[in-house]
Point group: C2
Chain length 429, copies 2
Amino acid sequence: MRIVELTKEAKENILENLLKRSPNNYGQYEETVKDILADVKEKKDKAVFEYTKKFDKADITAQNIRVTEEEIEEAYALVDDSLVEVIRKALANIRDYHMKQKQYSWFDTTPQGTMLGQKVTPLEKVGVYVPGGKAVYPSSVLMNIVPAAVAGVDKIVMTTPPDAEGKVSPNTLVAAKEAGVQEIYKVGGAQAIAALAYGTESVPKVDKIVGPGNIFVALAKKAVYGHVSIDSIAGPSEILVIADETANPRFVAADLLSQAEHDEMASAILITTSKELAKKVSDEVDGFLKVLSRKEIMEKSLENYGYILLVKDLEEAVEAANEIASEHLEIVTKDPYNLMMKIRNAGAIFLGEYSSEPLGDYFAGPNHVLPTNGTAKFFSPLSVDDFIKKSSIISYSREALEPVHKDIVQFATSEKLTAHANSIAVRFE
Amino acid sequence: MRIVELTKEAKENILENLLKRSPNNYGQYEETVKDILADVKEKKDKAVFEYTKKFDKADITAQNIRVTEEEIEEAYALVDDSLVEVIRKALANIRDYHMKQKQYSWFDTTPQGTMLGQKVTPLEKVGVYVPGGKAVYPSSVLMNIVPAAVAGVDKIVMTTPPDAEGKVSPNTLVAAKEAGVQEIYKVGGAQAIAALAYGTESVPKVDKIVGPGNIFVALAKKAVYGHVSIDSIAGPSEILVIADETANPRFVAADLLSQAEHDEMASAILITTSKELAKKVSDEVDGFLKVLSRKEIMEKSLENYGYILLVKDLEEAVEAANEIASEHLEIVTKDPYNLMMKIRNAGAIFLGEYSSEPLGDYFAGPNHVLPTNGTAKFFSPLSVDDFIKKSSIISYSREALEPVHKDIVQFATSEKLTAHANSIAVRFE
């Protein structure tokens, strides 16, 4: 891996390079996506089946678009029992963590007869998109469905592209069933997002669409935003490790590679105060590259977006970490808790040398759907919050309104909204 | 107002008619907006000044784009002291309510040495857009700024279009100052959204942009979504009143008109079980129309999107209210609390006959920036939640990881992510 001293200029170049990966930079596909959306909105199922034939080579009809109970049973027969057990253990942890995110309705009263409050209601229908193709991630199925289920969503439907035989990966089906999906439809790409946003004869319209996908899926989600809600737009995966001389270089190297293997756009960065560690991590990376299976992807992503950055102190490391706002941040220093307090922008923060990033991807409980590409500055991990909405509650008695009614009339009148003023005044005429 | 029996068919037509008002239906302006965004991104201040000259007829330069302390003092001199007092009373209520929305970081530990948690951090920089032109709403300034201030945002900047003389409404400036804005810039429209999203020599780049605006502002916000965060996209205002025979027709009529006066796209709907009330409300509306100042707007919006809907019982009323998912919902029945429990979709719910909608617009405390156009099915009122983000915290000791490490390795291996598996395995080799 390249080892670079983190000057101001180097930092600016790196930040710019990382942002190149943003899904905001793929405007050239917008027209294609728009056409697909318009087509599905108008021709519904017919368009869905045509695009599925075109892109996935599968013959999907109204008869076979929905995954049957038999297909799910078949899937269980194909998946190792021990993997099902692991999925269940992970699920229990994920549920436990997300239960702690639950928000409750509240209200507050005064003896004058006012009640103000906030009512929390789960969303009614949610669509979860699950990618197919080269990468099948049951863990991602769990992470997208559990927060919706914990929030109390009535109906969780999933869509995923079929293979050319019209099949869905058994691991995906088992994970979906375990997590509590009610309906699964075999459709992928922008056409799946359109079907969920507008509804077709076969696929129900939902209130919110979540889940990762390729650039077409990302652009389609952005295009339907406002018509339905969406989760934040996912970019390529990232890891940033802050380490000092106490870190184990072998662990750090392994963790960097765990994100580099995702795809060629993934980014793996180490920021360290120790030149010695930098060298050792680089050597360990080279060693692992020789034995790990996804060598080519890792080499490419390290070449494009991998860095070992040398800083003079941990203050500088924290500053850079806050600017990069990484999806995953590992802190492997003498006192990781102390440093964590200074971290402002990160999707998930892993503390200490046994808190390896994949622990979070699969098992610990917090969601692995995290803001990428600098969006940790303003977006949060996927959570139960994403599957509820709130309504304000306002109740005033005559006795409570009377002493303030003239103030409200004055405020409304100052905005020239005379019918607003009238609606207060009329109650005391 | 037209009185319609709420058949299934009538409901479908009304829902379709209401959705016509959605900002999602103004694709024809997208290209214009895109050009403005690209222009400001590239030419920064220069483009901002050109568009301000073109659209607002104002000569704005780097020297006068930022509102000065003197301009704010001038504004105070021009605003009635009694209005400043009213603004302060409203502010105190708005702050009180939003303080109750604050969310806190939490963590949870086990004796095996695991800590999982969620860290809450305020956004660093937020941009508040405030419309100018024909409608100046200081109340909206308060409602957008207070939740950001309560969340603890470091820097709150505001942009608003100047008039042809390069001035900003004194009421707006006073409200902004009282609410705690740090910087105010004289720029409006899509060019303001671009400036806040990308930054210019004069206007700082922010992490999130909130605030209402015309269709160009709405489309610009949607276009920059993902690059920065935005609040939900605002559509025209709406009121839905559920009333039975116990309601005061004069109050109901006044409340319907309070939203109808906003603009010709606004919607005002009464759903009632009482034919007698329906008739009386219609008569009261006619009476008010004769005396209120914004007659033409109200007539137009009632003609387009105003309805009195007759239902056979309150169950039916609730069902329709949940489908319409109105921005504002008033419940004026014998037992409004009982009905409120059944409401699933509404921005703000007003209970009882003294809880007039404008009480919420100006004074009670809950935010008046609410989801419109059916989006209350999945969006929430603007709140402190909009100005924070969360980071997951994960810490596992060796003792905690050891007993589960094989499970994680198996899960990662099943996804063919061998470098993920390696990063766990390497810790126990």
